[in-house]
């Protein structure tokens, strides 16, 4: 059933995405040289998060897929983060 029309992502968009990804990578390596204390991990995770959003949206075509797909991805991430969060109810208060 190929009734759903396919969206072709132009090469240019993809290359731009890669460049942004590379910049973000460089940024996260550079940032570790600075001292943010405990915010360091946070910054690293934020940058990684931004990168993964780009990969998901453009390389994995989520931006062009039916709504259902991004919703599912978000739900899965939410479940995972909640599990992590709940686990730390134990480890943060031992």
């Amino acid at each position: 059933m190929s009734e759903e029309k396919t969206h072709i992502v132009p090469y240019k968009t993809q290359i731009v995405v890669l460049i942004v990804l590379l910049i973000l990578t460089a940024l996260s390596v550079a940032v570790t040289q600075l001292e943010f204390g405990s915010y360091n991990t946070l910054v690293a995770m934020l940058l990684a998060g931004a990168k993964s959003v780009l990969v998901l949206a453009f390389f994995m075509h989520l931006k062009y897929e039916k709504k259902l797909f991004p919703v599912m991805v978000a739900a899965v991430m939410v479940i995972f983060l909640l599990v992590l969060f709940v686990t730390f109810f134990d480890y943060s208060y031992r």
């Binding site: 479940i79 909640l82 599990v83 709940v86 134990d90 943060s92 208060y93 031992r94």
Partner: protein
Amino acid sequence: MTDNTRQKQPSFLEYQGRYKGILGWILSTDHKRIGLLYLYTMLFFFSVAAILGILMKTQLLAPGETIMGPQTYNSFFTLHGIIMIFIIVVPGLPAVFGNFFLPIMIGAKDVAFPRLNLLSWWVYIIGILIVLTSQFTGGGPPDTGWTFYAPYSFQTPTNVLPAVFGAFVMGFSSILTGINFVVTIHRLRAPGMSWLKMPLFPWTLYGTAWIQILATPVIGITLLLIVAERMLGIGFFDPALGGDPILYQHLFWIYSHPAVYIMILPAMGVISEIIPVFSKKSIFGYRAIVLSTMAIAFVGYFVWGHHMFTSGMSGRALFTFSFLTFLVAIPSAIKVFNWVATMHKGSLHLHTPFFWAVSFLFVFMVGGLTGLVLGALATNVHLHDTHFVVAHFHFIVFGGTGFAFMGAIHYWFPKMFGRMYDAKWANLGWGIFFIGFLSLYLPMFYLGMMGMPRRYYDYLPEFHGPNILSSLGAWVMISGILIIFANLIRSARSGPRTSEKNPWGGKTLEWQVDTPPTLENYDEIPRVDETPYDYRDYTGIDNPNN
């Protein structure tokens, strides 16, 4: 291959495909044949594990060593638990009845990925074989319990690796089935069947499939970590290397609690099918049941810690988990009320499936309500790891899933085999079974409250009385099960043939197709515009066969 003529297709039982004889089954991608393959496999292993159960109960007939020593007992409850959980009830209803009826009930010719479906049966079989090798090779049968708690699981000299690895492989089978069902339900519903016109059994399978997809990888990686721990000494759970054994318990239960809802949700779906059909009345609160199914699937993900109340977790975690545990009980309560309300003002037809459904309600309530006792912090501290827990989960796993399974098979039997079973024997078997069940497991609650810990092959004399009753109950129950199985097996092979499409007067799609279903279920995909449980046209006059 079909040429789109109107000529009648053969029934799936008779159809001759590329392969003949047994190969025509074990290489068939027909969802119905795969369903039956699972059924036969499970019946076989179920018998094995049930015998182990009976032997354990016989050992517990009196204090001291009656028929077996500790090593045997320990390996028995381990194998019993592994078979019952990983081989029977986790795949159980979805793999057997889900495979057989999901496509038919939503008006599809097969599941979305038929070949993947066959593959998952094969993966399942391979997993079983790996588990079985653990019994006969290496340092002897594993003796860790089905929970494989670290650090014992990597210190015991017994053959834990194959058991763990087999369970890991079976996880893949579970995941593949889950993926298959979610895609099937999303993509292959008959035209007109909107989400809220889908019958409830498919709905529960949908919820279950999501849990299978999102929880099974957790056990996969956990078991893999145990393998790494045993082979490489990586140290994640080894206190001598800085690991935390409690973390193992977290990971294990992050899967295994959702897994108990994998076991019970399809059972609830079956009950939601049976009750309206035999009450001749629309299910009460369809939307509430759908919502509560999804709520269980979601909230059930975050209550795993209630298995670890005495494990040394932080107090704050105990508080949170106990609280969430109580929340997850609510959707189950809603369902029970809706089922009972469905019977209200119905016209109840007391056939064997309905007996199973009603007794399901009872044992499920006992199991669920004792779950609440376990969910409360203070009472759990006393009851954890005692026979109270054993009674709770036999009531709800065996009582819930097992009874639903028996209900399902008596309900769908004519459709699956095109033959009818003997109702008298079926009812008699049910009665004996039910009595045996109660006398087997009720005393265990009492034993637990008295303080008898579980996984004890021997006990103090003060626990003797209730254990006698319990062991005798096991024998009564096994007589019941023998009657039931004998009746079913005889009927499947030589019972009276029937091609009656709709013996019970059901409204869902599987009762509109041929008996037994044809190879492709439908010549033409039906259009569905009604809700699945509308009995307004029921005249009060029975179907002649009914």
